[in-house]
Amino acid sequence: MRASTERTILIIGAFIMVIGMPAVILAAIALGEIPLDKALSTHPLVTIPYAFVKIGWGLIWAVVAVDWVVHGSHGMRRVLGELIKSERGRKILDFLINAIMVITGIVMFYVLVFVT
């Protein structure tokens, strides 16, 4: 993958998260689905994303979470790419990262939408 393509994917992914995560959280609070007092007195990992699954917003959160997986995978490709010097090694890394990204993305989507 070209470095410019990777950078574009990273930036778009980051943009969706930076805007998307607060937007979903604020929307859930504004609509009263997640009471503010409850959110401010609960363990953050219980509130996010468990509360979103409980109130039936798992699908909405899944969009952010899958984007999270894509952004994280590309970030790790960058980090691990700094350790690899050969072209063949880079291709293997690309393949592994893509495989992990697709599988984790599907599993993430599944657990947020179908597991309660």
Binding site: S41, H43, L45, L83
Partner: protein, 140 residues
Amino acid sequence: MRAGRGIGEWFRVINLERVLFLLHRITGVYLVLYIFPRPYLILLYGSWEEALKLDMTPIGKLLAAFFVFSILLHGINGLRIMLVELGVIKGWPVRDPIKPTPALRASKANWLMVVLTVLGTIIGTAIGTYLVLYGAETWP
């Protein structure tokens, strides 16, 4: 350590931007290591409730507190990086013969974002850590 030579390059700290770069990378790697196994754990345990029990152990709470710190620092600093990359934050270098200043460090918007990153991370981590330690462990 010479430039462009692997992860050791991250620790060649010479200024504030390099420190933020280093923290951005470390928190990014931590976020991946923390989040990526999570859907598999839920799949393994069969429910969110069972998987969340791991987060309520002392080690789970320690990892969660560092997760809160990581997501805040990576998120807010990431916003600064995005604004720099998109050309929203930019500055003009000060061409002083004695003490020249690079363009980014001469930008007030960049300094504002740096302050926001530091304050947002400290305040958010304090609140988040408190909730991790003393917050309710179940959702009604």
